[in-house]
């Protein structure tokens, strides 16, 4: 599905990603973990072309997308959420979900022909369906800026569901949530997002990762240090060391 071949990204002297080679298969749900500053979000940004890699190759379904622009990558069927929430604040909730579909291939700007009107109705229906999935149907006509954080995170998920992409990056979907709220989020991811698509979850909350992911990749200081089954990865000394320091690993 998605293959990264020795991808590198530097910010000045800092090697945010060095020689990352990794593949994600179809319909896989993978947890991407690592301490702060280990390059998790950089990896997402590099794949979605927020900024391009300095070296290496990115293949999506066999096509080289390394030098594609961000909007073309998105049109190929790669979607993402943002760690620090990006929404159109001055649009309604449903407006945000509809807006997510305007960039999809085949969208037309004007609705002159009957087909196009049907198309627009489809956007609306799709958006309402997606909002129902995440449980936001009751607030659909409120402005996005008026929602509390857990609902905003759900809105980002709804936006993804409406686009129906093949590959999804969820960047800290439960960031800033209480344990109950993040349990709900884990259930939502497992039930609605993960089926029938490749789903890569970046998260610090290990119970969420353990709940939804069958595979975990660990980044530390821009390098891939572990890749495999959650139960196996969580007990690897290198992983514990990366998270808790050398002393803890030997304890």
């Amino acid at each position: 599905m998605l293959n990264l071949v020795s991808v590198e990204k530097r910010f000045g002297e800092l090697h945010a990603l060095s020689e990352i080679t990794i593949s994600f298969g179809p319909n896989e749900t993978v947890g991407l973990i690592g301490p702060n500053g280990s390059g998790k979000s950089t990896l997402v940004n590099v794949v979605t072309a927020t900024y391009g890699p300095d070296a290496g190759q990115i293949l999506f379904r066999g096509t080289d997308i390394t030098s594609h622009e961000a909007h073309r990558i998105s049109r190929l069927g790669i979607a993402r959420t943002f760690q620090n929430l990006r929404l159109f604040q001055r649009m309604t909730v449903i407006g945000n979900v509809e807006a997510a579909q305007y960039g999809m291939p085949g969208n037309v700007f004007f609705r002159f022909r009957p087909d196009d009107r049907r198309n627009a109705r489809n956007f609306r229906q799709k958006a309402e369906w997606a909002l129902e999935q995440v449980g936001l149907q009751d607030v659909r006509n409120r402005l996005a800026s008026s929602l509390p954080l857990p609902q905003l995170r759900r809105l980002e998920i709804a936006r993804i569901l409406a686009r129906d992409p093949e590959l999804v990056f969820l960047d800290e979907p439960a960031g800033g949530m209480t344990p109950t709220e993040s349990e709900d989020m884990a259930r939502l991811i497992a039930d609605c997002v993960a089926p029938n698509r490749t789903c890569i979850v970046i998260e610090h909350k290990m119970d969420l990762i353990a709940h939804v992911c069958a595979r975990v990749c660990v980044l530390n200081a821009g390098q891939l240090i572990a890749d495999g089954d959650p139960e196996e990865v969580f007990v690897l000394p290198t992983v514990i060391e990366a998270y808790l320091g050398r002393a803890a690993a030997h304890a």
Partner: protein
């Protein structure tokens, strides 16, 4: 209607074109100090078309706005990478180059023994289409408002369409819009070209109304005024810039009591308005509430 009222109303109509063009650029998230250049290009080109080459008025309008749109395309393509203040100053530079360039354009032809055409800083007089075709100022005012109405209808339709939503997406967060598959560069260019076309059309109308134009009419003050009108009225609907124009030219010019202190009153009023409503009178949030209220009725 008195001649004075007609001239004020016509002026409002023509300035509204520039205000609308500045507004469209504001909605896509950029500030342009250069919309007056397209207004000027439209005015000069259409004036030359009717006065020098004897073109019919309608064709002159089309030619003027198309040339302005082409200029806007060139500027837009060159400045596509620029944002914020950089974009604003680049458009300012372009507009001033056009204005100063017009100062040194001398293209004149002999018509009835009189030289006609742009004469540098001396200006461009004798755009006599209105007299030659017996169009009264009142009739011309109707032409202005008919065209303004047409532009407004197009803008309001665009606003309701998916394209309108896409433009607002770019205006609010271009990075997010791009990550949703929107080709931000192309859309922005489209909007800039369209804005040039609107301003150019206004310029065509202005040239034939004023019959005399000079480069200094199209200085940066016109552009910044247009920008202010666009913001004062509100960034939520294309009706906003019209409100801005009416508020300044219509209301303050009309109220004789503040003659001589007009700008002091206007400046103070708008400054206070912007403190209370930083995105203008009819901003997106207020439009949202109005729409909801209308739906409930």
């Amino acid at each position: 209607m008195s001649e004075y009222a007609i001239s004020i109303a016509s002026n409002m109509g023509m300035i509204a074109f520039v205000a609308l063009s500045a507004y469209v650029v504001l909605v896509v998230g950029e500030i342009s100090f250069g919309q007056q250049a397209y207004f000027g290009i439209g005015a000069y080109v259409s004036g030359m078309a009717t006065a020098m080459w004897g073109w019919p008025f309608g064709f002159a309008l089309v030619l003027g706005s198309c040339v302005a749109a082409i200029a806007a395309f060139a500027v837009g393509a060159l400045t596509l990478r620029l944002r914020g203040l950089y974009f604003a100053i680049a458009t300012l530079c372009f507009a001033e180059m056009i204005r100063l360039g017009l100062n040194s354009i001398h293209v004149q032809v002999e018509i009835d023994g009189e030289p006609v055409g742009p004469d540098g800083a001396e200006g461009f007089g004798d755009i006599r289409w209105m007299f030659e075709h017996d169009v009264t100022t009142l009739e011309y005012m109707f032409i202005i408002y008919a065209l303004l109405g047409a532009v407004l209808v197009v803008l309001l339709l665009v606003e309701r369409s998916n394209l309108g939503a896409v433009i607002r997406m770019i205006g609010q967060d271009p990075l997010l819009a791009r990550s949703q598959g929107i080709d931000v560069g192309t859309c922005k260019l489209l909007v800039i070209v369209f804005s040039g076309m609107i301003a150019g059309l206004g310029g065509c109308l202005y040239a034939h109304f004023a019959t005399y134009i000079e480069p200094n009419v199209f200085n940066v003050m016109l552009g910044v005024h247009a920008l202010a009108y666009g913001l004062i009225g509100g960034l939520g609907t294309a009706l906003g810039p019209i409100i801005g124009v009416v508020l300044d030219i219509g209301f303050l010019e009309g109220v004789r009591a503040i003659q001589g202190y007009r700008m002091i009153a206007f400046g103070g009023l708008v400054a206070i308005l912007l403190i209370i409503m930083p995105r203008g009178i009819l901003d997106e949030v207020r439009i949202h509430h109005i729409k909801r209220w209308l739906r409930r009725q």
